[in-house]
């Protein structure tokens, strides 16, 4: 370890100040996309360069960092970002949602309710919710400025016309503080209700698109919908195969090439915590599956 080769948390202090100013502005205008001078990071775009810069700018030596990727603490992306900050900032890291002060996430919000003084940092690929319908940046900015959001409903309309229901399952648009329409990044819409009135600060960083936006603690976040097609959070209708949870977000895991599959919590920390507390699912004793089956048959 030769930590002194890096400035604390990799970025230089000027850059961190610049990013902090953008973050402060974003907090002051909930849901508004603040442009910032995104830096090149030692990782490719799409791997969380925006989230990493936000984390780097807010991290202090006393912070405890958790990084998740699709809810999991142990995927490549999560591990390498966690190690990156362990090395460049020397901060403590954890996989426990409860213990973390800063949680960087890609595509999930932890199942464990967040607390005040925690910060959730989202990695955002495309921050503009209107982008797919309106390609002109000048025009989308004007639409935000004038709160012209009819177009957002056009997207939902298209969903219903095509699939009979609002098929948008992730990156489901929300209105923040009754003003700005915001893309919650590609989190499943299951997580949308957790953003509303959340005690933790939520920060969003888009590295390639050079935007930062925020939801301050205890801010109203409403998912857009139609009167006759109200917003519905979606999850697979099954308990977690490992911990038996009935209300967590599940990943579908294909187990063989004959259509076998299982559903497990996407939030690994939550799932392990429940299993440790004695909760069981149908396949929880996976290594001893045969035994379990024997028991069932006998």
């Amino acid at each position: 370890m030769n930590a002194p080769a890096y400035n604390f948390a990799y970025l230089d202090e000027q850059t961190k100040r610049m990013i902090r100013r953008a973050i402060l502005k974003a907090i002051a205008i909930p849901g508004y996309q603040v442009p910032f001078a995104s830096r090149e990071m030692p990782m490719p775009y799409g791997w969380g360069t925006g989230g990493v810069q936000v984390t780097a700018a807010i991290l202090g030596p006393a912070d405890v960092l958790k990084v998740i990727d699709q809810g999991s603490d142990d995927t490549t992306n999560a591990i390498s970002i966690r190690k990156f900050f362990a090395k460049t900032a020397g901060v403590a890291t954890t996989t426990a949602t409860d213990e973390a002060t800063v949680i960087q996430t890609r595509h999930r919000i932890p199942e464990t309710a967040l607390r005040a003084h925690q910060v959730l940092v989202y990695q955002v690929p495309i921050p503009e919710p209107l982008r797919f319908l309106e390609p002109r940046e000048t025009e989308t900015r004007r639409m935000h400025a004038l709160a012209e959001y009819g177009l957002m409903h056009v997207k939902l309309y298209e969903d219903i016309a095509r699939f009979g229901h609002i098929a948008t399952a992730y990156a489901y648009p929300v209105k923040v503080n009754a003003r700005y329409v915001m893309d919650p990044s590609p989190t499943p819409k299951f997580d949308n209700p957790k953003m509303d009135n959340c005690p933790a600060l939520q920060l969003f960083g888009a590295g390639r698109e050079k935007r930062i936006y925020a939801i301050p603690p205890y801010t109203q976040v409403v998912s857009l919908d139609f009167e006759d097609h109200p917003f519905e959070p979606y999850r697979f209708n099954a308990p977690c195969a490992l911990c038996g949870a009935e209300n967590s977000y599940l990943d579908e895991i294909v187990t063989d090439d004959k259509g076998g599959r299982m559903f497990v919590c996407s939030d690994t920390d939550y799932c392990e915590g429940r299993q440790a507390a004695g909760h069981h699912g149908s396949l929880s004793a996976a290594p001893y599956k045969e035994k379990a089956q024997e028991a069932a048959n006998g």
Binding site: L133, L146, G150, H153, V154, A161
Partner: protein, 265 residues
Amino acid sequence: MADQNLLENDEPLLVARSLSKSFGRINACRDVSFSLYPGEVLAIVGESGSGKSTLLQMLSGQLAPSAGQVSYRMRDGVTRDLASLGEAERRFLFRTDWGFVHQDPAQGLRMAVSAGANVGERLMAVGWNHYGRIRDTASDWLTRVEIDTARIDDAPRTYSGGMRQRLQIARNLVTEPRLVFMDEPTGGLDVSVQARLLDLLRSLVAELNLAVVIVTHDLAVARLLSHRVMVMKGGRVIETGLTDQVLDDPREPYTQLLVSSILPP
């Protein structure tokens, strides 16, 4: 009822006063004044470069005049100078009480979005929040512009040119605007398709009592659709009057030239 109508019609909807626009040393439009009343169709005719498109842009608030003023009687009955409207108000006007039919439907439509959503967008923009009602209204409008409702979920890029133009019209009319601007709405269409579109426009304009400012270089279009004509040349209005007066009894040399250039039917 009739009296009410008369009263309402007695005040102009749109008034242009001494409108001029110069681009550097070029005077694209000089000293144009007129009043447009509810239900009245005004055709602006002239060849390319006569200033008719510049005028249309100023009238529709998309281009600031160098001199002069455009005022509009809003739905609340108050007449406002367009220049005094904020951008939000102007854009709101543009998608509620006004329509704008472009020559190229691709400019006025979202080509990748279904026809139903194209028509419904304006409704959603003014706060309609009931999918079923939006769809019913869109479907109703498709029928009115003679588009098979079975095509409601198809994107206009799968439509023919004539259908696209009719869809653009439906998209504009769904909020029941009182004033519609049209820029060569039949340009670029086959003759047979043009006839059908003109016929449709004519009946919609009469049915909805629309005021229309239509820019065209096609005198046949002006004759079929408009009550009044303004002939422009070199940025100036050189002759104006009832459409049949101007076309059957043209006074100015240029108008006579235009009229005599029409091929006999």
